[in-house]
Symmetry: D2
Subunit: 334 residues, 4 copies
Amino acid sequence: MNVGVVGLGYWGPNLVRNLYESHLCEQIYCCDLDDAKAEKIKSRYPTIITTRDYKELVQNPEINGTVIATPVSTHFPLAMEFLEAGKHVFVEKPFTPSPEKGAALVAKAEEKGLIVMVGHTFEYSPPVIKIKEIIDSGELGKIYYISASRVNLGLHQKDVSVIWDLAPHDFSCLFYWLGEQPKRLSAMGRDYVLKGVPDVAFINMEFASGCTAHVQVSWLAPSKLRRTAIIGSEKMLVYDDTETMEKVKIYDKGVDYKDPETFGEFQLSYRSGDIISPRLDTFEPLNREMRHFVECCEKGLTPKTDGHNGLRVVKALDAAERSLRAGGKIVEIA
Amino acid sequence: MNVGVVGLGYWGPNLVRNLYESHLCEQIYCCDLDDAKAEKIKSRYPTIITTRDYKELVQNPEINGTVIATPVSTHFPLAMEFLEAGKHVFVEKPFTPSPEKGAALVAKAEEKGLIVMVGHTFEYSPPVIKIKEIIDSGELGKIYYISASRVNLGLHQKDVSVIWDLAPHDFSCLFYWLGEQPKRLSAMGRDYVLKGVPDVAFINMEFASGCTAHVQVSWLAPSKLRRTAIIGSEKMLVYDDTETMEKVKIYDKGVDYKDPETFGEFQLSYRSGDIISPRLDTFEPLNREMRHFVECCEKGLTPKTDGHNGLRVVKALDAAERSLRAGGKIVEIA
Amino acid sequence: MNVGVVGLGYWGPNLVRNLYESHLCEQIYCCDLDDAKAEKIKSRYPTIITTRDYKELVQNPEINGTVIATPVSTHFPLAMEFLEAGKHVFVEKPFTPSPEKGAALVAKAEEKGLIVMVGHTFEYSPPVIKIKEIIDSGELGKIYYISASRVNLGLHQKDVSVIWDLAPHDFSCLFYWLGEQPKRLSAMGRDYVLKGVPDVAFINMEFASGCTAHVQVSWLAPSKLRRTAIIGSEKMLVYDDTETMEKVKIYDKGVDYKDPETFGEFQLSYRSGDIISPRLDTFEPLNREMRHFVECCEKGLTPKTDGHNGLRVVKALDAAERSLRAGGKIVEIA
Amino acid sequence: MNVGVVGLGYWGPNLVRNLYESHLCEQIYCCDLDDAKAEKIKSRYPTIITTRDYKELVQNPEINGTVIATPVSTHFPLAMEFLEAGKHVFVEKPFTPSPEKGAALVAKAEEKGLIVMVGHTFEYSPPVIKIKEIIDSGELGKIYYISASRVNLGLHQKDVSVIWDLAPHDFSCLFYWLGEQPKRLSAMGRDYVLKGVPDVAFINMEFASGCTAHVQVSWLAPSKLRRTAIIGSEKMLVYDDTETMEKVKIYDKGVDYKDPETFGEFQLSYRSGDIISPRLDTFEPLNREMRHFVECCEKGLTPKTDGHNGLRVVKALDAAERSLRAGGKIVEIA
C-alpha cells in the first residue's frame, strides 16, 4: 500500500512518523504548500516523495490511500476529490465543518466502495478502550451520567470555537462508550478574549437511554484538567488523563434504592468499597490508529472510527455551536 | 443578650456550641420536639434552659434574638412569628423555600426594625473572605467566568433536591464575590435514585456584568470535589476546599489581546508566571458568624448576610429548580 | 469497672471522652495538678470525680484500672505505684524513658498478675490493622524493606527529642507488622533550633529476618508527610495517612529473578498490574484502644499492646537516641 | 568545531540530536561497535560520519572535542586517550568508577590545557538552576538540612549498584546548591533482587557548614518519587520533579528561636506564610549542556560541571558504596 499525506503542519508529521517508522506502507508521498515543511520531513525520512501540489497525489495511480491533516475548512473538498479519484481517505478530526458535508463524504465513500476514516485518536488509546470494556461488561451498571472537563490555558484558534477545537475528543469518547449520540443538547459559552470566537463552553446533553452528559471546554483556565467521571448505578469511574500512573479508577460506590413494600417509606443504602486502578496497555494510540487505517484499506474492513462515527460527532459539535450562539437554547439532534 | 435556639438536629448543636463556649450571650434557651436532643444539649451545657414548645421562646420577654435551625419548610412561619414578637432572627440556609416567603420576612423585619440574618456560613470562612479581598483589589482583572463543582456520594434528602441542598453554598459565595445576582440561568439535572428528587444538576448563569458561571452539584459522585475556578482577565484563581494546605491558589496567567493596528491581524500573547497560595486565617467560620449575629443585634448593624442576601440566593435556587423541571429552559430572574 | 485517669493535659481528655461517652466503665476519677483542667472536664462530664492528688486514686479501693497520660518522665514512678497498689495500668506512649524502667514495670505487672498496656494507638487504627492482615496473608511476599516519613513543622518539645516524640508511632507500627524488633540501628540527626534537642533524625534499622527499615522524623519540614512504603517480593504497598480516601494502596508490582540455568546469564522480569485501594473500616482508634484496655482488665486478657510491646519500642528509641548522639554509630539491640 | 561521539546506546543519540538539530558544531562523527546503531543514527542525520573504531576518532585531526557516552567502566581509558590526543572531552555521568581515575583525568586535562566536562545534566535544568538562585539569594536563610528521594521500579543494572546509577543526580544537585561536598557519610542498603548489586540505599551526609543531607535511592519502589526538601532557617523549599506545573515551591515557614533574656525560658515562635511556586524557564537541559560544552571548548572557558565537579561526586559515590558494603560504617571523605 502507498499512502499520500496532505498537510505537514502541527499534526501531519506525527502521522508520517508512525507510517514510516512502523513500516506500515511501502511508499509515502507528502504534500504541503510550505516547501520548508516538505524539506524538513524529507531530511528526516529520506525515502519520502514530496510535492507542493496535492493534485499530483490525486492523479497518482500508485497511491491507494490518503491521509488529510489540513485545516478543517479544507477537509471536505480534499476528501471528496480523493474519493472521486478512487482512493481511501483518512481525515483528521473534526471530520467536516458541517453535518451536510460529512454526510456527503459518507455517501460518496459508500457509492465508491471506499473507506473513509476519521482521526478520533482517543478511541485508539489504552484508557479509553479499557473504559469501553468496563462499561460493556456491565460492571458499572446502568450509566446515569457523565461529566467531563477539558480545560487549560490553550492556544486560541482564529477561525474555530473552543467547541470545535476541544469537544471532538470528549464527544467521540462519550458516544463510543455509550454507543449512542445525544438526542438533544444545549451549550452556554462566551467569547471573552477574541470577539466572535467562543473560548469557554458548558455543554449539556441528553441521550435516548436516559443518560445525561456534561462537557466543559475552555482555553481560559489556570491549570490543565482532563477529567471524566462516569456515574453508574453499580459503580463509578474516573478517567484523569493528566495522571501518569492511575489514569482510570473504578470506585465500588453506589446507592441502592429499595422500593417500599406495602406502605413503608423508601429506603436508601449507601455502599463504599475498594478503589481499583486497572493496569493499562502502553501502546501509542496514533500508531494503533494508522495501523488500523492501513489494515482496513488492505482488507476492506469498516474502520472503528468510520465516517458515520465522524459524522455523529460533527452533528453534536454543530448543534452545540448553534445552541451557544442562540444563548443556550436547547437544540434537538435528528 | 439572651438567645433562643429552635431545632437541635444536625446543625443546631454546632450553633449552640459556639454561642455557649465563646460566651457570646448571657442565657441560651433551646427548643426541640425531641426530648432526647434537649437533654443531650443540657448535659453538655448545664446552664441552658430547654423546652419542647417554641411558643415559650416566642413569648419569653427575656429573649432578644432567635436562631432557627429547623427544616427549611418551617423557616418561614417560625421566623415570622419571632419577628412579630419583636425578636431578631437568624435563619439557617436556605433562607426560605420560595422567594415570596423570603421577601415577606425581609419586609416584616424592616417594618419592625429588626435584624434578619441568614446562615451563609461560607461567607464567614477564611478562604472565601480572602478571595473577596483579592477580587475587590482588582488583582484578577475583570472576572470572565467562574466554574464550581460540589459533588460527592452524599446523603439523599427526601423532600429537597440537590440544588436546594448543595447549591446555596456556591450561590452565596458567587454572589458575594461578584456583588451581583444572575439575571438569567438554566439547569439540567436528573432524579436517578429517587424519582422526583433531582440528585445531580448542572447550572449555568449569566450576570449583568457579562460574567458567566457554571455550578455543578451532585449527590452521586465517586469522590469529593469542592473546586471553584475564577477566571479573570489578568489572573486566575482556584479555590479547592478539599485541600488542607493550599485552599487558594492565584495563577499569574492570562491572554493579552492586542487590537490590530490599521490592517494587521489580531495578536494574542500568553503569559504564565508565579503561582501563589496565600496564607489564610484559621478562625472557625461558624464562630465568626454567630459573633456577627450577636453584634448586629446588640449594635443595630446590618448583617453581612442579611435577608436581602438570603433572598437573592433563594431566587436563584428557585429559578434553577424551575429550569431543571422544565428540561433546562432558560429562566429570567427579576 | 472504675477507672482513674492521671493527667488532663493535651491527650488525657481524649481518653476520658472515649471512656465516658462509650460508657466503657462505671465511674471515672480524674486527677490533675491544674484545677482549671479538672474543672473543665467536670463541666463537660458532670459525673466524673476529680482530685489534685493522684495518691487518692492510688489509695481508692474502688478503682481497678488507671490510665496515665502525664509527661513521659513521670510514667515510671506513677505506673509503679499503681501496680504496687494492685491496679491495672494503661500508660501513654512512649512507655518509659528507658528500657530498664520499662522492664521493671513489665516484671512488676507479671509479679502482681496485673495488666500493663501501652497507648500505641496506631495499632488500633483501621489502616494499620488492614496492613497487618495484608502482610500476614502473604500477599506482599517476603518483606524486603520499609521506608517511613513522619515530618511537618511541628511543635518543639523542650525535654525530649524528635525521636521520642514522633518515632514511637512508626516503630510500633513496624514492629507490629513485622512481628520482630530490630537487632541493630543507626540514626543521624541534628538539633538545629534548640541546642541539645534534636529536631530531625534519619534512622536505619536492620531486622533478623533480613528486612531493613528507614524512618525519617522531623519537626522542621514544610509540609506534612505521613507516608510509609512497604516493599515486598510480590507486591508493594503505600500507606499515606494524609490521604482522606485512599490511605492504603497495594501495587501489583515487582521484579522476578530467574536463576540462570547452567551457564546462562541472570534474567529479571518486571511486572506491573492493578493498583488497589482497599476499603477501610471507620472506627475511632482511641475508642477501640480504651475498649480493649477495659476488656483486658475485666477478662484478664493480655493486651495487644502490652508491656513487652511498649518495651521493644522503648529499646529502639533509646538505641536511636544513643546512635544520634554518637554521630550515627551503629548500635546493637539486645 | 567538529565533535566525535563515542557510544550510541541509550543516551548517546540524545546528545547527537541536540548537537545536530541545534547546529552546535560543523561535523559530527559517531562511533559504536554495533553497526545497527550507527546506521540508525545515520538514517536520521544523514551528514553524520560513522565508524566502528573509536581509534579513528582519536587519530582524526579534524575533531576538536569528544563526547563519551559509553558504560562507566570505559570512561577512564577512553577519556585519557582522547585527552592525550589533544581533544576536549565531555564524559557522561558518573565521571569515573573511582576517585583515582577521576583525579588522573583532571590532572591530564590541566596538563594539556584541555577541557574535561561531566554530564551532570540536572545542573543545566530550569528548576535546579532556580533553586541555586534562591539559595544564593539568602531567601531560605541558613540551610539546615536537605532530604531527597529518587525511587521507582527501575531497571536493575548488572554491574553497578543503585548508588552509582541514581545518586549522581542528587549528589551533583546538592553539592552545586551548597557549594561544598560532604566531609563524612554513611549508607545502609541491600541487594534484594540480584545478589551483589545493591538495589536500595539510604545515605546520610554531613557537610562542614553544619548542613546535613539524606538521600534515598531505590530501584524497588511502587511509585516514582523525585522529591527534595530543603529546610532553611528562614524558609523551606520543595522540589518535586514529578510535578508538571509546580516543580518548585517555597514555603514561608519557620521557627524563630529567641534567646532567653537573663533568667527566662527559651521561646520559640512559629511562622507560616504564603506558598509560592515560581515560574520556571522551559529550555531543554541537555541542549543547554551541549551548547555549554561547545562554547567552553571554543572559548577556552571552564565548564560549570568540570572535572573537579565530576570528581567530588565520584568521591561521594565511592564513599557511599564503601559504607554500604561495610554495613553502614561512617566514612570520612578527604
